[in-house]
């Protein structure tokens, strides 16, 4: 019987391997498709079309932190498990979509409700719209017409769009958010890539905290605030872990190597940089007495 069970395991593993289509090139999502989340935890069971969530529209108006920390949406499709009842109680979508919140001189439409008549069906379809011919209130190309353009993803340079005043993402929701004094920002630092010849990665905390605060990435995505505690590699990032939690789904995709690998390669990579006192940076000193809290191999003060 051992051979039999071995065969079963072998076939299951082999078929799973063949079904997982790695090593292929799929189409790159179109700018208006990028970041779209289809939510179907309970919709089909409730005889509703699955929800199509336009991430681009929400990210243009709200910070990442507001929805993924204060409102606490997961960052992987389907893992929040939103129920109509949760929304009705004012959680998740219902935090804003409660029929009361004012947004730019208009009331935000109410999300799910227990009682409804046929007139309300159109409201349901504003979200429950997969494979339905629903005219969206906001058209991507019209909405983003004047935004500065970039390569890949939504095709928008969101950072620049904010700098130029096209978008002003809100980071505070009365009744839900609680303000804390901001922590001092750590300086940019560089990370040594494992592949020789690749330019170093320059990571900017300053750029990341604008929309994320501390809480979006720490401690869940990057638990280690001490050097070497969190070890990760590009394949893990491609799987959606670490940087891949955003970059690849909603932020600029991983296809764009040079946006992170920006620092010129050292002429003699064999030479070990001389050991210095661990650089001291900003607020993190309070936690570990000055040890550089970098999750990667080598770190140089930039």
């Amino acid at each position: 019987m051992k051979a039999f069970s071995f065969m079963i395991v072998f076939i299951l593993v082999f078929s799973a391997m063949s079904l997982a289509q790695t090593g292929v090139k799929k189409k790159r999502p179109l700018p208006y498709e990028y970041g779209t989340v289809v939510i179907n935890n309970y919709s089909s069971k409730a005889y509703m079309a699955p929800v199509v969530f336009n991430h681009w529209l929400h990210r243009a108006n709200f910070t990442c932190r507001l929805c993924h920390v204060d409102i606490a949406f997961a960052m992987k499709a389907g893992t929040t498990g939103i129920r109509a009842a949760d929304n009705m109680k004012g959680y998740y979508c219902g935090s804003c979509h409660n029929g009361k919140m004012q947004w730019q001189d208009r009331k935000v439409f109410e999300a799910c409700s227990k009682e409804y008549d046929h007139k309300d069906m159109r409201r349901c379809e504003r979200c429950h719209s997969l494979d339905k011919d629903v005219k969206r209130e906001y058209d991507f190309s019209k909405f983003t017409e004047k935004f500065p353009k970039e390569r890949f993803g939504n095709g928008i340079d969101w950072e620049k769009a904010e700098a130029e005043g096209y978008i002003k993402p809100i980071g505070f929701l009365p009744g839900i958010s609680v303000k804390r004094p901001p922590l001092k920002i750590q300086k940019d630092f560089s990370l040594e890539p494992k592949v020789q010849g690749m330019p170093q990665i320059i990571f900017s905390h300053k750029k990341h905290i604008v929309w994320n605060g501390c809480e979006l990435c720490h401690p869940e995505i990057f638990s280690g605030v001490k050097k070497g505690l969190t070890k990760y590699s590009m394949p893990e990032i491609f799987e959606g872990k670490y940087c891949g939690a955003c970059h690849g789904l909603v932020a600029f995709p991983l296809l764009d190597c040079q946006r992170c690998h920006t620092k010129a390669v050292l002429e003699a990579p064999e030479q070990q940089p001389e050991q210095k006192e661990p650089p001291t940076h900003g607020f993190l000193n309070r936690f570990d007495g000055g040890n550089m809290p970098c999750p990667q191999l080598l770190l140089t003060a930039h």
Binding site: M1, A3, F4, M7, I8, I11, F14, S15, S18, L19, Q21, T22, G23, V24, K25, K26, K27, R28, P29, L30, S141, E150, R151, K194, V195, Q196, G197, M198, P199, S233, M234, P235, F238, L254, L255, D256, C257, Q258, R259, H261, V265
Partner: protein, 281 residues
Amino acid sequence: MSASQSQMGNKTGIALKCFVYPVLFIVAGLFCANDASSSFPVAPPQEYGRVVIKNYSRAAGLAPVVFDHWLHRARFTCRLCHVDIGFAMQSGGTGIKAGTNEKGFYCGSCHNGSYTFEDRKVFASCSTKGSDAGNPRCERCHSLDRKVKKEYDFATFTKNLPKGGGGNGIDWEGAEERGIIKPVDFIPGISVKRKPLKPQGDFTIKSRGKWIKADIIFSHKKHVKWNGCEVCHPDIFPSTKQGSLNFTMFDILDGRYCGVCHLSVAFPINECGRCHTKPVQ
């Protein structure tokens, strides 16, 4: 073990041999069979790389699209279409719609009626406006099984190109080296220039087949010319660490890894000696 028990064991063994194993193999075969490219493509030079796109054509009352890959590859880099424009690398995998072309994506990135190439305007692709129905322009692409005279004839177009190898029978690399083709890598309004990364040096991949006495020499330098980094990484080859991706010739024959290109558009996989170049002592 008693006699009856061993008999039972024998019976299970026979049942396994005669029935369970074959069934399991068939099931495994069904799981592993992939519609991507299970049969080895054999096509005459002018048809090699041809893509027939029929996601929505028939439903719209049009003939499926016949796309001549050779004509486009002679003029544009792989990267331009498969990264900047974002075409999938499996026929039918992009799911192009007329409306999407009309908005200026996919074919409509160039075929928009305003893009100029070599002193002529590139014809516009699809239009969803009713007045355009039956336009002879439609048949320039929607031409499967139709008697359409193509503007570019393969034999005439490739007359001056250096010949060699299977596939299209063209030495594309040599054609570029001699300056006969100059594939364009930038479309204004779509492409964004990035500083090129330094290509890694050539490296050897050990051949696992005992019958083939040559290792593979892989040249990043040759590949980045038309592909940049982004055609292959991270989608096709997610890992950049040598040896961490464990793929075989079977995977390649299945249209994955090297087989994404070297089965359908680049020099075909039956030219063993073009990759297996390093003799093993």
